[in-house]
């Protein structure tokens, strides 16, 4: 894109990918109070900007190698950093592009199935996209937990608004999703107790001498179970069929490809 010759935008594109939908989501209820019809172009604008920034980040990675962006200019183990490499960049483009398409084409079904609540639906949609993009872009294990919870809470509410049995299906998803996220938090805690660091690159450096230790083994086991619950891997997939069939159609189109695949991304990231 020749649009971004402003070096500031290119340099801070990793964080803008996540922050732009967030800021737009915070203002969506305000816009909805002024005029309800304006929330749809507002949401589409947020997703277009996010897609443009993620394409820009991917192009930057392909030209210059791995991008490391430090939040607040603190060096990595003491501050949070965003690491964008080729896998990340591609997933960011996929997530933001898919959500843009779902938002455009799902608009009609949202207006039919949820009359009167479209403003809040669009706000939650943007928040869930923020959560997914944050999970994919971050390089810090605890930050991943925070954004995982943002995406999950928005998902619980979106699925519960569907047709007749949706609330119970969503409740089952609440219980199993919370178990998964808490197991993830436990595994991050065990790794912190035994290494002292929360940054993913730092953990990759500090863990190999400790591979035989029982703490690392337990942490890995809990991480696998937690992510498997979120990913609907075989014995723990009970929440998936009801949640997808009973949710509103646009929500199914959004959550179905993204939630599970983002969890697979997290698993790949920890294994390497």
């Amino acid at each position: 894109m020749i649009l971004e010759q402003f070096p500031f935008l290119v340099h801070s594109s990793p964080v803008l990918i996540v922050v732009v939908p967030l800021m737009f989501a915070l203002l969506t209820p305000v816009i909805g109070l002024i005029r309800r019809d304006w929330t749809f172009p507002w949401m589409i604008l947020a997703l277009i900007l996010s897609t443009v920034f993620s394409v820009e980040a991917l192009r930057d990675v392909m030209l210059n190698g791995v991008i490391r962006y430090r939040m607040g200019s603190w060096a990595p183990p003491w501050g949070i950093e965003y690491v964008i490499d080729h896998l990340n960049g591609l997933m960011l483009v996929l997530v933001s592009g898919t959500s843009l398409l779902v938002a455009v084409y799902g608009n009609r079904s949202v207006e039919q199935e949820l009359p009167g609540k479209e403003v809040y639906f669009r706000c939650l949609f943007l928040l869930q996209v923020t959560g997914f993009l944050g999970i994919v872009a971050t390089g810090d294990a605890f930050n991943l937990y925070v954004f995982l919870e943002i995406a999950s809470i928005a998902g619980y509410a979106l699925i519960a608004a569907g047709e007749d049995g949706a609330a119970f299906a969503s409740f089952r998803y609440v219980i199993m999703g919370t178990v998964g996220a808490c197991f993830y938090l436990l595994s991050v805690g065990y790794l912190y107790i035994v290494t002292g660091s929360l940054n993913m690159a730092d953990l990759a450096r500090l863990l190999p001498p400790l591979y035989g230790s029982k703490v690392v083994l337990t942490a890995f086991a809990f991480f696998m179970v937690g992510i498997a619950v979120k990913m609907a891997l075989f014995p723990l997939h009970l929440w998936l069929p009801d949640a997808y069939t009973k949710a509103p159609s646009a929500v199914s189109a959004l959550v179905a490809p993204l939630m599970t695949k983002v969890s697979i991304y997290v698993m790949i990231r920890i294994m390497t």
């Binding site: 501050g79 930050n143 809470i153 912190y192 002292g196 660091s197 809990f222």
Partner: protein
């Protein structure tokens, strides 16, 4: 069904306890968690952030992005409650 749940709970607890065998003891000042990242937070909080409260300086300065994520979580929960529970007055 309840017996199966009890078994799963015991198994999970046993795996967790198995994991604590290699952990540092309670209150050990030499554990990796208090030697790697924390000393810089403790020693440099006054000169780098001008805040005598270390928890605040970590929460708002070194790890301020997590705090932004946490306020987003509260906002999401609030919007979810409005979305689910509001009824049109007929």
């Amino acid at each position: 069904m309840k017996f199966l749940s009890f078994l799963i709970t015991l198994l999970t607890g046993a795996v967790l306890v198995y994991g604590t065998i290699d952990m540092p003891a309670y209150g050990d000042p030499d554990s990796p968690a208090s030697r790697h990242v924390s000393p810089r937070y403790i020693e440099k909080t006054e000169e780098e952030t001008a805040t005598p409260n270390m928890v605040t300086s970590v929460l708002a300065d070194y790890r301020g992005y997590d705090t932004m994520g946490e306020t987003t979580v509260i906002f999401t929960a609030g919007i979810s409650c409005i979305f689910l529970l509001r009824r049109r007055k007929k």
